[in-house]
């Protein structure tokens, strides 16, 4: 179980990237994802699923996430999520995949 205590950003707004901003949330408030993407209609669920899966792996249950997608591949979304979590103080244990 991990708590996020500060606002953290990773990624960029360049094409094929995604900018992730994570912020703390109150206990038991759950996971809130605000997604902005030109392909949200087609891939919104998949992007949310990747974000949720990454959070689940590290036991993050309360968090606010803003994701601004510029057409990122799934592996890029995951990489940017891992970077954000790592910057928030969560140990990745070298098991990134």
């Amino acid at each position: 179980m991990a708590d996020i205590c500060k606002v953290i950003q990773s990624g960029t707004l360049e094409s094929s990237d995604i900018m992730i901003t994570i912020s703390p949330a109150r206990k038991d408030s759950g996971i809130f994802i605000e997604l902005e993407s030109n392909v949200a209609m087609q891939y919104g669920d998949a992007i949310r699923a990747t974000i949720n899966q990454t959070l689940a792996e590290f036991g993050v249950k309360n968090i606010q996430i803003k994701a601004v997608d510029r057409g990122a591949l799934d592996c890029t979304i995951r990489a940017r999520m891992l970077t954000a979590l790592s910057r928030a103080g969560i140990t990745l244990n070298g098991e990134l995949f």
């Binding site: 094929s16 990237d17 591949l73 970077t83 790592s86």
Partner: protein
């Protein structure tokens, strides 16, 4: 024989370029964690490159990762990148065989059981690194090439880079000789003006004349020009085929030495001819001489 005519640098924190790096026609891509990445984004690029290695299909393009120098972020780079099975690491600012030993220890620790050993290309870009070129080239069996980084080197010796490249002639020769003595490939420094195609052509022709068989590449537009110079031409292929034919005839007659158009054909000439034919076959030019 590994085919490394062009090794194209791809910025390690740019997903768009990372995902397209394999389709640009270079023989190898260098996913760059060093100079192309700002200090505060090293963590981000490291994780992104690791994911690119696991998920992007680079086809026949050899995957090389330029890590950070051993006295900065190299330990984290190696621990994260090596398990993702790049073909090679490009280690910058190598100064001595001891540097290679340190890198190899870290790589052995990071490799997973059964993993094919990751190769090493040593980037020589300091006066000491060039002075130690041969011992670096022989430091470990993982080393497959020495590469010259002329920008840092000329800054270190106080020289100015010029289009003629006279100021790096000694450095180029040191890299070539050390690599040849160790039986590994020598890779030339990049030509840094991506808009000067004439300059790139002349610089690559000089590199080839000196003995380089590959060149670090900073822009996809440079790839075709470098290949056009480093590929054997029809004249080379025709000569190589005649050499091989002549030596075969001589061997059938019980002689180890042949003659071709009045010139002696002995073992070094045969070796050169064989290299040309192997290269021609690898780049799809075999038969072009007929």
């Amino acid at each position: 024989m590994d085919l490394r005519r062009t090794l194209l640098f791809i910025p390690g924190n740019n997903p768009g370029m990372l995902q397209n790096g394999g389709v640009l026609g270079a023989d190898a891509v260098i996913l760059d964690l060093e100079d192309a990445v700002a200090p505060l984004e090293k963590d981000s690029a490291r994780i992104l490159v690791a994911h690119a290695l696991r998920n992007v299909d680079y086809g026949t393009c050899e995957t090389v990762v330029r890590i950070n120098p051993l006295d900065t972020f190299a330990h984290d780079d190696i621990a994260t990148i090596v398990p993702c099975r790049p073909k090679a690491l490009l280690i910058p600012k190598v100064q001595s065989a001891a540097d290679i030993k340190v890198a190899v220890e870290l790589m052995e620790k990071a490799e997973r059981p059964g993993q094919e050993p990751v190769k090493i290309i040593a980037l020589l870009e300091t006066p000491r690194g060039l002075a130690e070129a041969y011992s670096i080239a022989c430091a470990d069996s993982r080393i497959v090439a020495l590469a010259l980084g002329a920008e840092d080197y000329t800054a270190s010796i106080g020289a100015q880079r010029t289009s003629s490249g006279i100021e790096i002639l000694t450095a180029r020769s040191l890299v070539l000789n050390a690599a040849a003595a160790a039986g590994i490939q020598a890779l030339d420094t990049p030509f840094t003006d991506a808009n000067d195609e004439t300059g790139l052509l002349a610089d690559t022709q000089l590199a080839r004349q000196l003995g380089f068989s590959g060149k670090l590449t900073i822009n996809p537009r440079q790839i075709d020009i470098i290949h056009s110079v480093l590929n054997p031409d029809t004249k080379d292929i025709s000569w190589a085929e005649r050499v091989i034919k002549a030596i075969k005839v001589a061997a059938a007659e019980g002689s180890g030495v042949a003659s071709l158009e009045g010139k002696m054909v002995d073992a070094p000439i045969v070796a050169r001819a064989e290299r040309i034919l192997i290269m021609a076959q690898r780049v799809g030019l075999k038969g072009a001489a007929q």
